[in-house]
Amino acid sequence: MILQDFIALSPILDLGIFSLVTMLAIAFGRHHARIAVFAFLSCLLTLATLPWAATVAPRAVTTLLVVDGHALLYMGLVLTATMVIIALSYRYLNFQFREKEGVEEYYLLLLLATFGALVITTAAHFVSFFLGFELLGLSLCSLIGYLRTRRHPLEAAVKYLLLSITASAILLFGLALLYFESGTMTFHDVGAIMKQAQSVPPLWLGGLILVLVGIALKLGLAPFHMWVPDVYQGAPTPITTYLATVSKAAVVALLLRFATEVGLFELPPVVHLFSLLAVVSMVTGNVLALLQENVKRLLAYSSIAHFGYVLVALLAGGPPAAEAVTFYVIVYCAMSLGAFGVVTVYSSEGGDKNLFEDYQGLFWTRPWLAAMLALSLLSLAGIPVTAGFIGKFYAIAAGVDAGLWWLVLTLIANSVVSLYYYLRLIVTLFTEVPEQAAAPQGQVEQSAPTVGWTTAFSLGFVASVILMLGVYPNPLMELIRNSVSNLLMVAVQQP
């Protein structure tokens, strides 16, 4: 290892060190606000090392990790999302842990999960792939059950644990099969050997499919989606946000790298499998979301559908596909942060607010909060001026470019269906509660709760990202283009 390797690895090292320091800080003195600020700064400082690491990128650090533009871009996304989530968590936890019984480890776990996510984005080897997966999965599992005195979070945690274990088992078995056939564990060599092979041996194919099923389980693609709504609903809302954004973005980063290096989409069976997954995810997600009365469940089903759209873009193959996927994932993270963020903020003021009826007439009592939710929902629905439109445009463009007409048409039919439930929620925001005008309920409700500046700032940031990407997406497109060309330049010098 030489200095440049350290520079390349600096984001991961940085966050690792800060996680340790956070742990020590908690050991020395419990103080919620201090630890929260500390965790936030850890992410911020890690974010600051990205440009530094970029000076030596692309670089393969040992055979395990590759730090290139692609990895750095996703690292930036993951870290930014984590920062927003930390900012939103503080008030939520303050409300949920009124007795302040050991709330600080939450931030430690969050940092560790993000650490795992960073490892995943750089993974170029089965070992680092699996390590990152486990780090992320285990931290998330404890985070989901963090409100340990409640029933739903614990139930969700157990569900997620079972899912994680199943996914890991399937994944490991798949990786083992791939290793058995190829004798190597780096993505690059696996791809190289596969290109030389005349015909694909069945075991190899089986291994690949098992790996992909493991990834699909993590991404919550239908038909592996059963856990998604329950876990989303049960988890503390900031963690639901984390599940929807950071955890998925990291896995997509890995999937992109894996798919390009191994040449996944040159295998017809894999393409068929993914097309099927895409269609089933879109249809299942959207149809099941139609009649939900719970906002978190609705967003959970919509996330299943959205990753179906991502698959459509992914299936297109080649540079436009990678660009479209990355753009869509970034956009999806912003919209999810917005939508779940509003649920978090609203739930920090008097218990969980998950049902549609809680949101009825919100626009007339809390215009900013409701406008933010409406903006995120419109973005999820893909209406112009919001980022979601450009994302959908990108996905459609990639699909049309590759001539995937049926998938694109399915995507379109599904976006129309999805409009129905987004509109249902938006209409609810604008529908007056009958007694709202007549009798104000209690004095507490009357004085509209003030939103802290951290919340206002983080939601404002998310809103401006959504609008900015919707109106002037070119800078991000160029950035992604560079990172993708990085990813496709597979021949990163191996040590």
């Binding site: 419109l378 209406i383 112009p384 001026v385 439109f389 445009f393 459609i396 463009a397 049309v400 470019d401 694109v408 048409l409 379109i412 976006s415 129309v416 409009l419 129905y420 509109l423 209409v427 604008f430 002037y472 997406p473 070119n474 497109m477 160029e478 283009r481």
Partner: protein, 519 residues
Amino acid sequence: MVMMLWLLILIPLLAAPFAWLGQQWSRSAPRMIALGALSVDVLLALFLWNHGDSVQASGHGSWLVESHISWIPRWGISLHLGLDGLSLILIVLTAFIGVIATIASWTEIRSRVGLFHCNVLLALGGVIGVFLAIDLFLFFFFWELMLVPMYLLIVIWGHAQRRDASFKFFLFTQAGSLVLLVAIVALALLHQQATGRPSFDYADLIGLTLTNEMARWLMVAFLIGFLVKLPAPPFHTWLPDTYTEAPTGATIILAGILAKTGAYGLLRFTIPLFPEAMSEISPIVMGLGVVGILYAALLACAQTDIKRLVAYSSISHMGFILIGAFAGTELALQGVVMQMVAHGLSTGGLFLLAGTLEERYQTREMGHMGGLWSVMPRLATMTLFFACASLGLPGLANFVGEFLVLFGSYATQPFMIILASLGMVMAAIYSLGMMQRTFFGRQQDTRPVPDLSNVAFGTVLVIAVLQIWLGLYPRVVLTTAQPVMEQLVQATVASANLIHSRSESLLSSHIVTSQGTIP
């Protein structure tokens, strides 16, 4: 001049937040702001109209004014605006109808005045953008931009069934739009295949050579997108509910302007982009137009709800636009432009009056009205006037439009045109039936209600004067639109490759030249 193009769009868009904030100052502040912004837009557009001729004479190309700024170079998307005679006419119409809608909402909208006018301004800004954009991506951007404010207008201020109506409106139009989006993206990517770089620019795409099959599919996608908005059967089912449930101001905008964006899309994009596919498919589309005219007129005859009646009559009139647009003769196309303006004015007026009736009696059922002539003579007279305009009384603008369409299309599809002209007869039946049931006969409801207010009366009078003026002197509109329509016809004639269609086009262009002096 270039700046003024942007001002046309930006004035309503920028005034929108002020209209919302203005609520804090006083209740009428948002109304004044909306009125002011739209009036400025009208004046600006009229100014451009006056200067348009001189610019064109100086040989500036086909656009009177053009503005080109790079936006998303990765996809070859730019902020490309262009103004020609067609867009100019429609922009003036848009801003003017906007003024009418604001006045119509003056007394009807009492709650959340600021937000209402904010949405009105946003929607109109989007519509003006639609008429100006000549980059297909930008066009689509504006096309969708107008949708959300319209949706909010219906869902917040609409009548009892507003929820269902707003859902129908949004889902239908959005479904059409997405099909359109795919076609637009496909065109841009075909341009990439041909030249190596994607482009959404109108000028680039119009020169693209497509295989027949591709052109046919893309044409169908464009058609679906625009026919939903127009609307033409079988995509019209969202319209009666939406028009009925929306507040009067929103209905006026929907019927007066939004329907025209569909027609504009046909003229500006569908026909020039796919001229060959168009000449193949035009009998079918004209058939749809005829079906629309007759079917909607028939349904209008059976309505008991006054707003629904006007809504169906609106579908019926849009059928003429569809026929004229696909007839491929300059005369018919001129008629289409005339019909767009005339229909905008007459339905605007009719919905304003129907809305006033509803506001006064809290019902739209004509069975509960009757004998109202003596109660509100002003309203009754004006309704009679617009009913006559709508049924195509010579001397009024609608007559000019419909007549030109029928006359110009006769050579291409004589049988269909004979059927279509039956629509004018039926228009007389339902329009006069409406008058009969509402204003004549025995009075059902004897509550004393005020007549049309002075402001509303004045507004309606202005529309009426415009109707008469355009009816007697249609030259204003026709000469402005003429260069655009000439180009359109040339494009179609040049590419009509089938022998029989060529001979027909020659025949019709002969008629055009012989009629060239009429305007």
